[in-house]
Symmetry: C2
Subunit: 258 residues, 2 copies
Amino acid sequence: MNYDIAKLTVAVPTPVYPLSSLSSFGNELLRRMSPADLALLEPSLKRVALPLRMPLVTPDVPIEAVYFIEHGIASVVARTPTGQEAEIGFIGYEGMAGYSLVMDDDRSPLACYVQLEGEAMRIDAACFNAALAASPTLRLFLLRFVNYLQVQTGCTALVNARLRLAGRLARWLLMCDDRVVGIRFSITHEFLATMLGVRRPGVTVALQELEGLALIRSRRGEVVILDRPGLVALASGGYGVPEAEYSRLFGELDSAAQ
Amino acid sequence: MNYDIAKLTVAVPTPVYPLSSLSSFGNELLRRMSPADLALLEPSLKRVALPLRMPLVTPDVPIEAVYFIEHGIASVVARTPTGQEAEIGFIGYEGMAGYSLVMDDDRSPLACYVQLEGEAMRIDAACFNAALAASPTLRLFLLRFVNYLQVQTGCTALVNARLRLAGRLARWLLMCDDRVVGIRFSITHEFLATMLGVRRPGVTVALQELEGLALIRSRRGEVVILDRPGLVALASGGYGVPEAEYSRLFGELDSAAQ
DNA sequence: GATGGTTGGTACGCTTTCGGACCAATGCGG
DNA sequence: CCGCATTGGTCCGAAAGCGTACCAACCATC
């Protein structure tokens, strides 16, 4: 476990908005939306656990609920009919799963499931849609996240086409590090191979390469980030664009706030 | 030249809506939006030529105008700071360039430019934003296209990770074929290499492979599709998901209507 | 502390793709 | 009709990654 559950229940700093005594959320979208929009959602939000591999969106099935992630990581995944899959979106406490509803659709051909266990604020699709219908500003606000995710997915397509495995792996580790408390996280080679769309032994070798450069430290089922700038350099431009986009759209992430 | 300019000026079938005498558009979004929403946009729409390589969206620069493509093809392209690029979105008469405005953003880190010359209905960003502000239904309608494009980009990321060059090339040719009148189009190997993010000689070899399977016929600066089902099979699942998504969101494309 | 499932490390030959270079064919403009 | 830029075809060695297989290390459980 690489985050502190206890932290979720401790006191938070002085509220800025009247409502914020109720809005001690780890999720950046909930933290940053207007108090009025948050008030619309809040009665229907329920804190739920996100166990490993829990499906949040099932392909071509109506979306049951939206999840504002508090911590942990969910991946948006595309699959070929033959069962090959690759990660095309990476969502942590800065985002939400089930974003298709924001675009007035009720389902998606892409899957989304939990990759690093955590917690989320869950809201039923019906309640969420009602809030969207009631507040144009809520939809516009959440569309910024959709916009960001589109950029992120585009960059994933770019690095998949252009970068070698070590570079793609470095990017993935950086994105994971951005969304996790602390500098280490639990992850298996097998899992990384599925996400990156490569062979498992390839991941082993690539991790060794990164470890040889003293950028990470790799243990059984665990990776420790040692040198972020080094990883960014190795990702050779594949990391940074979506992150800058998020900052532009939402302001800087306060990583200490998580 | 692989489309018929003259066709743009000939009479169209009997209108369904009162407005449709004015709405003889090749663009599917303009054809399918509600008459009221079309009426909002129509006074500001201007038919413009899309010469090869014309930039429609410049990265990190405010979007000047939205282009509803009548024919021809625009590509959304992601670039690394080092200048490597790859195509992450493919837009023809079924879509629009400058879609970031629909998500209430005024710019994008992704470039968009013309890859196959054609024509578009252009509308100034300010006019377009005014129409969006005036009509919630217009935004919801165009969000379906954003949704579709997100799926398409995701599939691009998937095939870039999983498919070999011949498969990715087959997918690209199919997508091109879907958006072009006739079974042939003008394209250089160099250009395809840039789009797919590979070496130019690699494209030459892959095209020969497809030609050897009698799926296409390749001439200098031109490709002819001979066997669509064969290409779909070779793309091994990489083609079809976004296309089905478009049909679900907008109904079947009437390719004869173009 | 034996057992068995999970996870990680390694090896092998093979295919794909790369990077670079070079030349041939094409077709346009003078 | 010639010259030249564009485009396409080919070749080379090298690197990356694949598919497969096998074994070692680790860990939970009994």
